[in-house]
């Protein structure tokens, strides 16, 4: 146990008392007797210090005393997945599945500098052009230029064409600063879990650009997006071409099988529609990413994105209107709907992205642990707590 609170003994042996669970109750659990696990969770919740205490250096020291010293993730070898299991059904079949080749990118030193072709490439500095050239190796290099799409519709050419815009946003509009890139493993499957905010998902875009610009070999984060976005004309095409993937179980498991960086915002839609009163406070987490990380034996890197909550502060969310229009949110911001569509432009706030130390739950819990809903919820709460800590320290 290295980076997270030690779970209690007898995790899955005793019945629960759902009325005492701090993380919600399991509706399928029999309500008999007390359970050490739930008691322990309650104890953990009561031990959580106030927001002010998070900033207390004394408390910080006490919090991390049990942890091992921070290590350079580059030197750590990521254990390969022992067995690829995509679904419960395929596990029942017992059929051994062939391990898929990991999608990797070469080191920058292995990429030859190339001449810029076209306006889009001329707008990108040479160093960044080399990084984009490395990303094209994610799609089978043997393929014809016209056929260079991966199974999810990702196209290196599309990323090259759209990169100047997002690079400009990254450098000059949001003026992103970042730290902790060494915590992102250089190869193998990784789940990057971050906080979400700001109505429009510029936080995800900035995190993708940041990771491409600050890792060697450059790593492209494949963001898991909501199904709703997949039904929007043009948006669905754009997302797919730049590497974003609809959040289904099969898609998530497939990306991890391929050894890719999967970026998730476990708050989901609740994150982007939180009002200004709730900014910098994480909403309840979805827990599916924990299951996939355990099954694929992938570390989880907590990521805090500071600034997204201020880019478009929501004063009020008209929920009945959103429901009637089939939209996730109907916001009132200081500029929207006052200025019409222009009011949806984000404010030029300064972003800061911080990558925390990876949480290697898979080193303690096997893939079968993903079937334990209480453990999964508990681990999700640990990730949430870590991200909240990073947010509180840096905003």
């Amino acid at each position: 146990m290295k980076n997270f609170e030690k779970p209690p003994e007898g995790l899955d042996k005793t019945p629960s008392n759902p009325t005492r669970s701090a993380l919600g109750r399991d509706p399928f659990e029999e309500a008999v007797g007390d359970e050490p696990f739930i008691e322990r969770l309650d104890e953990l919740e009561t031990r959580l210090p106030s927001r002010r205490a998070y900033r207390d250096p004394e408390w910080d020291a006490a919090e991390f005393r049990q942890d091992e010293p921070v290590r350079d993730a580059r030197r750590q070898s990521v254990p390969p997945p022992q067995r690829i299991e995509r679904s419960r059904k395929s596990r029942q079949n017992g059929a051994p599945l062939a391990r898929r080749r990991w999608a990797t990118t070469p080191l920058l030193s292995q990429i030859e500098p190339t001449e810029a072709h076209g306006l889009a490439e001329r707008l990108i500095p040479p160093e960044e052009r080399r990084r984009l050239a490395a990303l094209s190796h994610l799609v089978d290099a043997d393929g014809q230029q016209e056929a260079r799409y991966d199974r999810f519709g990702f196209s290196p050419a599309a990323i090259k064409n759209s990169f100047p815009l997002f690079y400009a946003l990254y450098r000059f509009y949001f003026r992103v600063r970042s730290e902790g890139h060494r915590n992102v493993p250089t190869e193998g499957p990784v789940v990057l879990a971050g906080n979400h905010g700001g109505l429009l998902p510029f936080d995800g875009a900035m995190a993708i650009v940041d990771l491409v610009l600050n890792t060697d070999p450059p790593r492209l984060a494949r963001t898991i997006i909501d199904r709703w976005a997949g039904s929007l004309p043009w948006v669905n095409i754009f997302y797919a071409r730049v590497g974003q993937v609809i959040g289904t179980r099969e898609n998530f498991a497939d990306l991890l099988d391929e050894g890719q960086v999967v970026m998730v915002f476990p708050e989901g839609i609740d994150g982007i529609r939180k009002t200004i009163a709730h900014r910098h406070r994480l909403q309840p987490f979805r827990v599916g990413f924990i299951e996939h990380a355990l099954r694929a034996r992938a570390p989880i890197v907590p990521m805090a994105i500071i600034g997204s909550d201020n880019q478009m502060p929501i004063l009020y969310d008209i929920k009945p209107l959103a429901r009637s229009l089939g939209l996730p949110v109907a916001p009132i911001t200081p500029t929207f709907p006052l200025l019409g569509p222009l009011g949806l432009l984000p404010y030029p706030v300064r972003y800061k992205i911080v990558y925390g130390e990876p949480l290697r739950f898979h080193e303690r819990f096997g893939p079968e642990s993903a079937d334990d809903p209480r453990l999964v919820r508990y681990l999700a709460s640990q990730v949430r707590r870590r991200i909240q800590l990073l947010v509180d320290r840096n905003h």
């Binding site: 016209e146 199974r151 199904r227 929007l232 004309p233 669905n236 609809i246």
Partner: protein
Amino acid sequence: MPRVLITHADEPIGRRIVKTLFHDSAVDTIFAVGDAPPPRSFDRFLSSEGRKVIYLQVDMAKHRPISDLFHSARFRSARIDTVIYVPRHGSGAKDNPSLVGGIAERTEESRLLLQFCRETLSVRDLIAIGSAFVYRMPPGNANRLNEDSELDLDPHAPAEIRSWIDCDMLFHAEVHNDRLDVALLRVPTVVADGGYVYMNPALVGRLGPRFRALGFDPICALVSDKDVTLAVQAAIRTSASGIFNISGDQSVPLSVLASWTGRSSIPIPGPLLRWMSPATRALGFEPHEGPVDCAQLRYGYTLDTSRAEAELGFRARYRIGLARAGDGVLQVETTPTP
């Protein structure tokens, strides 16, 4: 050694399977049936020594012809033990009725074939090629689907998709038959050398422009016709029973695939799509035969083939790409993976 009956052997995928099995020494007899007279390419098979290939013209959508086939002395003497159901691709020729007694032709022939396979004791294996467009498509440009994914049971699904689903469910119901091993191979868009494309409802029928919903360009999983044949061979060898996704490693957007195969795809705003076919007909043009607007043509998918890998030993071996022909024109070519 298996003795095989192949339906729709006169159509492109059927011809490819007959050709491959003809050269497969593990196959004893090939009983090829089709709607049309034997294709010219069958001349050398039919005149070969040993008469490995027998071709008969049978309308598989009618009860009497198919009954006559299964009860004929020729069929009995051939002692057929494996039936390969190759479906009719597209909507069929114009002079053929698309409905038989109110049921889609493809559904009717699946039902009849299944009925006679059950009744014929010599038949032990039934291998059916179905479409992967039967899956329900949730929003998204690329959904990874496995064999357990939900089927599209929407009653408003287009007739073309509906007929594939009906066939799929007919074969699915017999998967656990004790006597008959039923293997259903769900294939996505099948591409052949020269830019021919089958089984994709957006691209069925003649060359020419197609309409698609504006703002949507679904990713299409591809498989070579040669890989489909390999999957059929694998199913014959293993006598496997169940449902298997069969797909290659490649996928391209619908617009790219349409341009590869000489069919331009014209984006039209979604609400106007349903009026495009009557409008083109009113202007004197023959409209596209397939469905123009359904979830399968807005949202893309790729297939998880891990079950076929594990149980059939199938792995796609052919790559699909553009190559320059002798006259300098780029055309689709399938080449073995190095």
